[in-house]
C-alpha cells in the first residue's frame, strides 16, 4: 500500500475553534427569529400523580401570553424508540418530578415564566415506584398502566409488570463449567445515575411558514431522528419538516432523540409564531435524561493458570419513567459483558425496568460502563486470588483478530494486546505495582488497570461529495458535530480520498433539508460509518474525474491516476494532467454535468450467529466492528478524608487509524475525565422521588483543576480493513475504562474492593473504617 494522503493523520485545528474561543459560535439560544415568542414550562412536583384538573386562566390573563398548552390540548400521538410511551406534556398522569405538565408561549421570557408559575394543577398523588426492587416486587404498581396498549417494536421480552425489556446473550454451558474452575469470584456491583451535564442546556426554536412547513433549529445529535419523531408527534409528513442544527454545546447521548422539539413545534403551531424554549440548567437536570443506574450481579470463574472459564452476569437497569433507549442500552451492555476475553461459557442476562424517576437514556458508553465496572473489577479480584499480575491475566485471555465475539461475529481487527502492553510499559506498571499501599501523610498509593471494548459499526448513513467549479469539493452529511470534531475528521477523510488539501473541502452544518441521511452522531460510529459513506462518495467523484480526464486525453480511464493536490493525469506521463478545476469546468459547461458522488450504507458486518449463541430479544441483528482500549491509573487515597486523587493515567486506545490525532487525544482525555467523574464524584440522587441535587451547585463535575495534567493518551493503530483509511471509533471507550481502572487502583492502594460508585470520600472512609474494625 502506498503512503497515506497528507490529510490523514494530520493534527489540524477545528474550523469552529476560533469562533468558539472568541465567543462567536452561535448556539440555538443565541438565535432569534422575527416575531419570536419565548416559552416556559411547568414541571410536576410529584413522582406519580393523576392530573385532576389544570387551571390556566390566570396564566392566560397575563398580558403578553399568547398560548398555554396542557397535555389535554395535544393530540394523543405518542413516540418512542422502542416503546411509544412519550408525549410532549404529561397526558393524564405524571411519572417523575419535573415532567412537563404545561407550557406557555409569551412575548418575552419573564412573562412566560411568570405565567407558568400561575398555572394551578390539581393532583391526586399515586404510589410511586422509586427503586428497581420496588419496580419488580410482586404486586408492584405499574408505572405505565397503559403499557399493554402502547405501540412497540416487537421482541422486547418483558415478562413482569414494569419490565421494559428482558434480554440475554449466552454461550456454552455455564452451570457445568463451574466444576472446571479452580477459583470463582462473585459480587454485586452498584453504579449510579450520571447526568450528561452538556455545557449547553437543551434548546429549540420552531416556526411554521405560510405553506405549513415546519422548521426546527435545535441542539440535537441527529436531524433525521428529530425529523422522523416530529413527523409522528405532529402528524406531518417528513417533507414538511426541516431540522437544522446550529452549534451544539455537547450532548453525550443526551440529545440523541427529541428533547423539547415536539413541544416547541406545538406551541409554534397554535400561536402561528416562531417559538423558542431553552431549559434552565435545573429544568434540564430534572426533565431530560441521565445514565441508567444499575445493579450488576456477576460470578466469574478461572483455572489456576488464569484461563477464564465461565461467567454468569445478571444486570438490572433503572430506565426511569419512559422507555427511551433502554432496550438497546440493555442489550448493548450484555454484548459487552463477556469483556474482551475468550470466556467459553457465559450466561449474560438483564432487564430494564420502569420507575418513577427521570427517564434514563443513551449516555457515552451506552450500557457498557455499568457492566464493565463490574466485570473488570472481577478480573482483578481473580488475579488477586490467583496471585497473578492483573495485566498478565488480561493478556492471557485477550481476544485477537480472527477470534469471535460473544454472539459469534469474527473480530476483524484488534489492538487490545498492544493497548495493554503500551499502557503497562509507559506507566512503569511493575514498579508502581510493587509499591502498592505506600504513601506519606495519611495517603496510600495504588495503581490499577482495565481492559475493555466497544463497537463503532451500526445502522445507516450516507454522504455526498460535489466537485465545485474551481475543483474544490463540497461534502454533505448529517453527522452533527457535538464539539468532538466529527466535521473536521470527515472533511479530512474526504480530502484524503480525493488527495487534496483539507482547506479545499467545504462541509455544511447538519440540515435535514440539505444533507443526506445519517442515523445519529452516537455509538462512536461517525468516523467509521459516515467516514465509509464519505469514502464511497469521494470514490464516485474520483471515477468521474478519471473519466473526464480519459476522454480529454483520449485514453482508457484505467490509465488515469489521481495525483496529490487535485490533479488527474496519465500514468507514467507527468506532463499530461488536468487540474480538478479544469475537469469540473468541463463537467459543468461542456459535457457530463456537474460531478456528484454519493455513498450510502447500513452496517454490513457479520450478523450475530443465532445457532452458536442464545441471543434473546436484542433489537439488532448486527452491530459491531469492535474497538479496544486499556487504561492504567495511579491514585492516592487520603485515609483522613477518604478522597481518591488521580495522580496519573495512561489511556491506550486502538482507533484503527487516527484521522486527526489531536481530536482523538481530545476524545480520550474528555472521556477519561467524564469517566473519572462517574467513578468518584457524580450521582443524581432522589429522596422520596424528589431530585435532591438538580443544580450545578449540588451536582459537581470535575474541572481542569481537579484532575492531573498527567493523563496520557496513547494511540494504537491496528487498521480496520473496512474502515476509512483503517479508522475505527473513539467517542465512548475512554469513559468506559476509567471507573474500573480507578476502582482497581483504589483496591491496590487500600486492599479494599469498593463495589459501589461513585467512590465518594465518604464511601471510601466508611470502607476504611469498616476494614479497621474487622
Amino acid at each position: 500500500m502506498k503512503g497515506l494522503p497528507e490529510a490523514i493523520g494530520a493534527r489540524l485545528p477545528r474550523r469552529d475553534a476560533a469562533d468558539k474561543l472568541a465567543g462567536a459560535a452561535r448556539y440555538t439560544d443565541d438565535l432569534s427569529r422575527p416575531g419570536m415568542l419565548h416559552a416556559a414550562i411547568l414541571g410536576s412536583p410529584w413522582p406519580s400523580a393523576r392530573i385532576l384538573g389544570i387551571d390556566t386562566a390566570a396564566a392566560r390573563a397575563l398580558p403578553g401570553v399568547r398560548a398555554v398548552l396542557t397535555g389535554a390540548d395535544l393530540p394523543d400521538r405518542r413516540w418512542g424508540l422502542f416503546v411509544y410511551d412519550e408525549t410532549p406534556l404529561a397526558a393524564g398522569v405524571v411519572r417523575y418530578v419535573g415532567e412537563p405538565v404545561a407550557a406557555v408561549a409569551a412575548a418575552d421570557l419573564a412573562t412566560a415564566r411568570a405565567a407558568a408559575a400561575l398555572i394551578e394543577v390539581d393532583y391526586e398523588e399515586l404510589t410511586p415506584v422509586l427503586s428497581i426492587e420496588a419496580a419488580l416486587e410482586d404486586g408492584a404498581v405499574p408505572v405505565h398502566r397503559e403499557f399493554g396498549s402502547y405501540e412497540k417494536r416487537p421482541d422486547l421480552g418483558f415478562e413482569r409488570v414494569n419490565e421494559i425489556a428482558r434480554q440475554e446473550f449466552s454461550e456454552g454451558d455455564v452451570e457445568a463449567a463451574w466444576a472446571d474452575c479452580d477459583v470463582i469470584v462473585e459480587g454485586v456491583y452498584q453504579v449510579p445515575s450520571q447526568s450528561h451535564v452538556y455545557l449547553e442546556p437543551v434548546s429549540a426554536i420552531a416556526e411554521f411558514d405560510r405553506a405549513g412547513k415546519l422548521t426546527v433549529r435545535s441542539a440535537n445529535q441527529s436531524v433525521n431522528k428529530v425529523q422522523a419523531t416530529l413527523s409522528r408527534a405532529l402528524d406531518l409528513p417528513m417533507s414538511k419538516i426541516r431540522v437544522v442544527t446550529p452549534a451544539v454545546g455537547g450532548a453525550f447521548g443526551g440529545k440523541s432523540g427529541v428533547t423539547v422539539q415536539p413541544l416547541v413545534a406545538h406551541l409554534a403551531r397554535v400561536t402561528g409564531r416562531p417559538v423558542k424554549l431553552t431549559l434552565t440548567r435545573e429544568e434540564d437536570f430534572m426533565a431530560m435524561r441521565r445514565r441508567h443506574p444499575a445493579v450488576v450481579r456477576v460470578r466469574t470463574g478461572a483455572k489456576a493458570d488464569g484461563t477464564l472459564i465461565a461467567r454468569d452476569l445478571d444486570i438490572v437497569y433503572d430506565g426511569g419513567a419512559y422507555a427511551e433507549d433502554s432496550p438497546a442500552v440493555l442489550g448493548f451492555g450484555l454484548l459487552m459483558a463477556r469483556g474482551p476475553y475468550a470466556i467459553p461459557h457465559c450466561r449474560l442476562r438483564g432487564r430494564a425496568v420502569y420507575t418513577n424517576r427521570l427517564r434514563a437514556a443513551g449516555f457515552r458508553g451506552y450500557g457498557n460502563p455499568q457492566v464493565t465496572f463490574a466485570t473488570e473489577a472481577q478480573i482483578d479480584e481473580l488475579a488477586d486470588r490467583l496471585g497473578l499480575d492483573p495485566v498478565e491475566l488480561r493478556l492471557k485471555n485477550a481476544v485477537e483478530a480472527g477470534g469471535r465475539w460473544i454472539g459469534g461475529q469474527t473480530i476483524t481487527s484488534c489492538g487490545l494486546r498492544a493497548c495493554l502492553t503500551e499502557a503497562r510499559d509507559t506507566s512503569g506498571w511493575a514498579g508502581k505495582r510493587r509499591d502498592g499501599g505506600i504513601g506519606a501523610g495519611g495517603k496510600r498509593r495504588g495503581v490499577g488497570v482495565s481492559a475493555f471494548a466497544h463497537i463503532c459499526g451500526l445502522l445507516g448513513t450516507s454522504a455526498t461529495v460535489r466537485l465545485l467549479e474551481d475543483g474544490t469539493a463540497a461534502l454533505a452529511h448529517s453527522a452533527v458535530d457535538l464539539g468532538q470534531g466529527a466535521e473536521a475528521a470527515l472533511a479530512q477523510i474526504c480530502a484524503g480520498a480525493l488527495d487534496i488539501d483539507v482547506d479545499r473541502v467545504d462541509s455544511a452544518p447538519a440540515d435535514s433539508g440539505a444533507a443526506p441521511y445519517n442515523w445519529s452522531t452516537g455509538g462512536s460510529r461517525v468516523t467509521y460509518m459516515v467516514g465509509r459513506a464519505v469514502m464511497q462518495a469521494a470514490d464516485a467523484v474520483r471515477q468521474q474525474i478519471a473519466r473526464h480526464a480519459a476522454e480529454t486525453f483520449e485514453c482508457a480511464p484505467g490509465d488515469i491516476e489521481i495525483r496529490p493536490g487535485g490533479r488527474a493525469g496519465i500514468v507514467g506521463v507527468p506532463e499530461r494532467e488536468l487540474s480538478f478545476g479544469e475537469i469540473s469546468l468541463r463537467a459543468h459547461y461542456r459535457t457530463g454535468g456537474p460531478i456528484i458522488g454519493s455513498g450510502a450504507l447500513v452496517y454490513d458486518g457479520e450478523a450475530f450467529d443465532y445457532k452458536e449463541a442464545v441471543i434473546r430479544n436484542y433489537p439488532f441483528e448486527r452491530v459491531g466492528t469492535y474497538v479496544f482500549g486499556a487504561h492504567v491509573v495511579e491514585v492516592e487515597v487520603d485515609t483522613v478524608t477518604g478522597k481518591v486523587e488521580i495522580l496519573r493515567a495512561w489511556a491506550a486506545h486502538d482507533v484503527g487509524r487516527a484521522i486527526n490525532p489531536t481530536s482523538v487525544e481530545g476524545q480520550i482525555l474528555g472521556g477519561f475525565v467524564q469517566g473519572a467523574g462517574y467513578a468518584l464524584l457524580e450521582e443524581m440522587l432522589w429522596e422520596d422521588g424528589q431530585p435532591v441535587n438538580p443544580s450545578m451547585m449540588d451536582y459537581k463535575v470535575f474541572g481542569a483543576l481537579d484532575l492531573p495534567l498527567d493523563i496520557h493518551p496513547i494511540i494504537v493503530e491496528e487498521p480496520e480493513p473496512s474502515g476509512p483509511f483503517g479508522a475505527k471509533g473513539i467517542g465512548e471507550p475512554p469513559l468506559v475504562g476509567a471507573a474500573p481502572a480507578i476502582a482497581n487502583a483504589v483496591a491496590h492502594a487500600t486492599g479494599l474492593r469498593l463495589r459501589t460508585i461513585p467512590m465518594t470520600p465518604e464511601r471510601v472512609l466508611d470502607a476504611l473504617a469498616a476494614a479497621a474494625e474487622r
Binding site: G442, V640, T641, G642, K643, L681, L685, V692, N693, D698, Y699, K700, V701, F702, G703, L705, D706, T760, P761, E762, L765, A769
Partner: protein, 284 residues
C-alpha cells in the same frame, strides 16, 4: 424592584432605613444567586459600588490592616499579609472561581454569613473587628460576635458593614487555611482556619476555627487552650481536634453527611495546624 446608587455611606444608610427589607448589593455573587433562585425578593437594592473608599486595603506600619467592605476577594487573595493574617489571603484564594472572586467582595461574603463559605472562619481566626455604620453612627463588632446563625449576622436592618480592621499580628504568628471540598471551587465540606503564635517552638496562643461545621464559624476556647503552651505535639493537636469534633453540629448536604464531617475534623485540624507551623519554619 428599585435599585439605588448612593455615593456616601450616610446616603446608603438612609436608603436602607427608608425601605423595609432593602438589601445592599456590592459584588452580587451571593445576592444575585439568591434572587435567581427566588429565595429573596427585596423591594429595593442599595448598591455600594459608587460609595467612595470602600474598596481600599491599607497595611499600616504596625502590621495592622484595614480593608473596606468592598475590597474584592481577588484583591485580598493577591495581597501579602503579615503573620497570621496570611490566613485571610489564603482563604480568599480558595473562594469559588476567579470570575467570582473578581466581583465578590470581602464584606459581601461576611454579611452573607454562609457557614460553608471560606472567609467567615478565616476572619474569626484573625480576630477581625468589623465596623458597622447605621443611623446612630458607627460601632465595632468582633468577627466571632458577628455571625449569629445560618445566613444571619449581628447587623441591624439599617446597618452597613463598611470596614474590617485586623489588629497587628504578634511576632511569631502564623496562619493557614485548609479547605476540604469535593472539587475545586465548591463550598467547603469542612474547612479549618488557624492562627498560631509561636515562640521558640512553643505555641503561645492559638485560634482554630472550623467552617461548615455549625450554623456559624466554630471556635472553642477549650480547643484553643488545648494547643496553648504546647509544642503542638500530636496529642495536643488531637485533643483540640476532638474537642472541636464534639462541639461540631454540621449540616448534612450533598457535600457530606453530618457524621462524615464530624469524623474528618480531627485529621483536618491536624493538617491545618501543621501547615501553619511549617510556615514558621520556612525561611522568610
Amino acid at each position: 424592584m428599585q435599585l439605588f446608587h448612593p455615593t456616601t455611606i450616610d446616603e446608603a444608610v438612609a436608603l436602607l432605613a427608608a425601605h423595609d427589607e432593602a438589601r445592599c448589593i456590592a459584588g452580587g455573587q451571593s445576592l444575585v444567586a439568591m434572587l435567581n433562585l427566588g429565595l429573596l425578593d427585596p423591594p429595593a437594592l442599595v448598591s455600594l459600588r459608587k460609595v467612595e473608599g470602600l474598596d481600599r486595603l491599607t497595611r499600616h506600619a504596625d502590621g495592622s490592616v484595614a480593608m473596606g467592605a468592598a475590597v474584592t476577594q481577588a484583591a485580598l487573595a493577591s495581597t501579602d499579609l503579615p503573620g497570621a493574617l496570611a490566613v485571610l489571603s489564603e482563604a480568599a484564594q480558595q473562594v469559588a472561581h476567579p470570575a467570582i472572586r473578581n466581583f465578590g467582595t470581602v464584606g459581601g461574603a461576611l454579611c452573607h454569613a454562609d457557614p460553608a463559605a471560606d472567609l467567615p472562619p478565616a476572619f474569626v481566626a484573625a480576630d477581625a473587628r468589623l465596623t458597622a455604620i447605621g443611623p446612630d453612627g458607627a460601632r465595632s463588632i468582633r468577627a466571632e460576635d458577628f455571625f449569629l446563625d445560618y445566613l444571619t449576622t449581628a447587623l441591624a436592618e439599617d446597618e452597613i458593614l463598611t470596614e474590617i480592621r485586623l489588629p497587628p499580628p504578634p511576632p511569631g504568628s502564623v496562619g493557614a487555611y485548609h479547605k476540604f471540598a469535593r472539587v475545586d471551587g465548591d463550598y467547603a465540606t469542612v474547612s479549618v482556619a488557624v492562627a498560631l503564635t509561636l515562640e521558640d517552638g512553643i505555641c503561645r496562643a492559638a485560634r482554630v476555627v472550623l467552617g461548615s461545621c455549625a450554623a456559624q464559624p466554630l471556635r472553642l476556647d477549650a480547643a484553643d487552650a488545648a494547643l496553648a503552651d504546647t509544642q503542638l505535639d500530636s496529642d495536643a493537636v488531637a485533643r483540640a481536634g476532638a474537642l472541636l469534633q464534639d462541639s461540631a453540629e454540621p449540616l448534612a448536604d450533598m457535600r457530606g453527611s453530618a457524621d462524615y464531617r464530624r469524623r474528618i475534623i480531627p485529621g483536618l485540624v491536624a493538617r491545618a495546624v501543621e501547615a501553619a507551623r511549617a510556615r514558621s519554619e520556612a525561611p522568610a
